[in-house]
């Protein structure tokens, strides 16, 4: 079985972002970019499944501008066998990404598609569900544990839901999206980074995949959230209780 993993290039999670003065978006020039943390977890899970003898190949896929190749190299250095870059410019919303994935799935015929549950830039939490819907595959979203049964072609997934943990059993092929607690992603070692340079990254354009990138969404402006007014530092528990009672009136 082949596993396909989606990886997105986003602003590093530790960077304090700045909104552009003209309100058209967030400053991305000269800002550290990294692989989306949930995508790292997705790739790690795919690698573990392969190392457990349940999969033969792990293919990492990224969509977007030319720099996505750097993210794919990181994925190859972690252990992915090969990569696919869909070269697309301009805004790429989850619906288009899902359609591109569907086209790639039809070409590559993976038995499992793993994505992060959300990208930490747009915070959409949509792509996995949408590609599952388009393919008619079952979906195991927000996974914190994945167990595969190769004989029966089943995936058992523990999902992080509002009330606790929900367990689902799905027929393969399926789509899984990863939550934070699924695993601890590995670091790429120097020899593996060197090896990754000779691995293949295949390039497609949306036209080659017969997908028209269109959008039914329009971003009008991006602004900073309202600032909270400055707080005070109290010196004792008594003062704190007094303030909460007589100033804030919350207790």
């Amino acid at each position: 079985m082949k596993i396909m993993v989606a990886v997105k290039r986003v602003i590093d999670y530790a960077v304090k972002i700045r909104v552009k003065p003209d309100k058209t978006g967030v400053e991305t020039q000269n800002v550290k970019m990294s692989m989306n943390p949930f995508c790292e977890i997705a790739l790690e899970e795919a690698l573990r499944i392969k190392e457990g003898g349940m999969a033969s190949e792990v293919v990492a896929v990224s969509m977007g501008p030319a720099q996505c190749v750097d993210t794919l190299r990181t994925g190859l250095a972690m252990g992915a066998d090969r990569a696919i870059h869909v070269d697309a410019t301009g805004p790429l919303y989850p619906l288009s990404v899902a359609k591109l994935f569907k086209a790639l799935v039809e070409l590559e015929k993976p038995g499992l598609l793993i994505l992060g549950k959300q990208a930490i830039d747009d915070d959409c939490n949509q792509t996995g569900q949408m590609v599952a819907g388009l393919l008619g595959w079952p979906q195991g979203t927000f996974a914190s544990k994945v167990v595969l049964d190769k004989e029966k072609q089943l995936a058992t997934v523990d999902r992080e839901v509002d009330g606790g943990l929900e367990t689902l059993c799905m027929d393969l092929p399926a789509v899984i999206t990863t939550d934070l607690r699924l695993n601890q992603p590995r670091y790429a070692t120097l020899p593996n980074i060197m090896k990754a340079k000779s691995k293949v990254i295949k390039k497609y354009t949306p036209q080659e995949l017969n997908i028209e990138i269109k959008s039914d969404l329009e971003v009008l402006q991006v602004t900073e959230p309202p600032k909270r007014k400055a707080g005070v530092i109290v010196s004792s528990v008594d003062e704190l209780i007094d303030k909460l009672k007589n100033e804030a009136h919350v207790i």
């Binding site: 999670y13 304090k16 972002i17 967030v26 919303y93 989850p94 619906l95 899902a98 930490i120 747009d122 915070d123 959409c124 939490n125 949509q126 792509t127 569900q129 949408m130 599952a132 819907g133 388009l134 079952p138 979906q139 195991g140 979203t141 992080e160 839901v161 509002d162 009330g163 606790g164 943990l165 929900e166 367990t167 689902l168 059993c169 799905m170 027929d171 399926a174 607690r181 039914d216 969404l217 329009e218 971003v219 009008l220 402006q221 991006v222 959230p225 909270r228 007014k229 707080g231 005070v232 530092i233 010196s235 004792s236 528990v237 209780i241 303030k243 909460l244 804030a248 919350v250 207790i251």
Partner: protein, 359 residues
């Protein structure tokens, strides 16, 4: 696209002709009608779903709101009755009663939404952005070939919305310019439900969804196994008036009990940071933050929480924030209304002693 528009126009024309009023409504091209996907439990619909109805009612004045419930058994009928009276603007409750919906699985639910949309031709479909809505709505949107919009905090016009991006560090105003339906999940803390007075209470009609065309192929590819949940008597984290949160500085699950004791005294819900969850002090469903729950209580008390971007994303809209931390430079103090620099192992026992009992 064109064929879909014609199909929709046709679907719209076949339904009205019943009263002059509905004829009038169908002649307005951008009339608003909303389907709310509701989650229910134990015979009543959940609070975030009522918030979704409140959000729907703010879309437009003459919005006709239908609530869709799915499930099986007597608790579904009780929930339908509750849905019919949960908010004065609900005009219709649609009930899909089938074993296929015993658990809220995404595959049959998305098919159901597709089916109901084809019959009803709604302009908007809304769900609360909890794990239920986030799981189901994007899948249904893909089936309907439209872009969904996640976690809306403000509705400016019927197609103009504000949502947070980058863990709440920026607000994005988006216009939906696509075909109907416009599909949204809403952040329930941004759409509070006003208390319903007895005289404004109205009973909406309840009708069953015709499932005769609902294919068997919609189910069977995934099966529900079990739900593991922690029983607790404390209020639900998402809706609590007061939230008491602990971070890594609590050092152990044993020490975390101090947080729970304080929460009990205040009638508060307990929250946690990712560090506290990863260290195994508390279960994951208590995590507050970008990837956990989003809360906006009247009082948020953070003990031993440094205030990482990802945690602030989940609580920055709280009315009053209190932070207790040993480190005077901790980022949490930048958002706190009241900060106390001190050792939480001394502060919490003192608070336990001096805080007034819950009202």
């Amino acid at each position: 696209m064109a064929t879909r528009a014609i199909h929709r126009a046709f679907a719209k024309r076949t339904v009205p002709f019943l009263t002059s009023q509905s004829l009038f409504l169908s002649s307005i091209s951008r009339s608003v009608s909303t389907l709310v996907l509701a989650e229910h439990e134990g015979g009543s619909i959940k609070a975030p779903s009522v918030s979704a109805v409140a959000a729907a009612s703010s879309l437009s004045k003459d919005n006709s709101i239908s609530v869709l419930l799915a499930g099986s058994g007597p608790s579904l009928q009780e929930a339908a009755a509750h849905a019919a009276s949960c908010h004065p603007s609900v005009s219709q409750v649609l009930v899909a009663d089938s074993d296929k919906f015993s658990h809220p699985l995404a595959e049959p639910w998305a098919k159901l939404v597709h089916l109901v949309q084809q019959k009803g031709g709604y302009s908007h479909i809304i769900a609360p952005s909890g794990s239920f809505g986030k799981n189901i709505l994007p899948r249904a949107a893909a089936l309907l070939d439209v872009s969904p919009i996640t976690d809306i905090i403000e509705i400016s016009e019927s197609n103009l919305f504000v949502r947070p991006i980058y863990a709440g560090n920026a607000l994005c105003t988006v216009r939906y310019a696509g075909a109907n339906p416009c599909m949204l999940t809403i952040r329930s803390t941004s759409f509070p439900v006003p208390p319903i007075s007895a005289d404004s209470k109205s009973e909406a009609s309840i009708s069953q969804v015709d499932l005769s065309t609902f294919g068997e192929d919609a189910v069977g590819k995934s099966r529900y196994v079990k739900l593991t949940s922690q029983e607790t008597e404390r209020p639900d984290l998402g809706n609590a008036r007061v939230v008491v949160t602990g971070g890594r500085a609590l050092k152990s699950a044993e020490n975390f009990k101090m947080i729970e004791k304080l929460a009990e005294k205040l009638g508060a819900a307990v929250g946690a940071t990712r560090a506290a969850v990863d260290a195994g002090f508390v279960p994951n469903d208590l995590q507050v933050g970008q990837t956990g729950k989003i809360v906006a209580p009247e009082l948020y008390m953070a003990f031993g929480v440094s205030g990482a971007i990802q945690h602030l994303a989940g609580m920055r809209d709280s009315k009053v924030i209190v932070a207790v931390n040993k480190d005077a430079d901790a980022p949490i103090f930048q958002v706190a209304d009241y900060g106390l620099v001190g050792d939480l192992f001394e502060v919490i026992p003192e608070l336990l002693e001096k805080m007034p009992e819950k009202k």
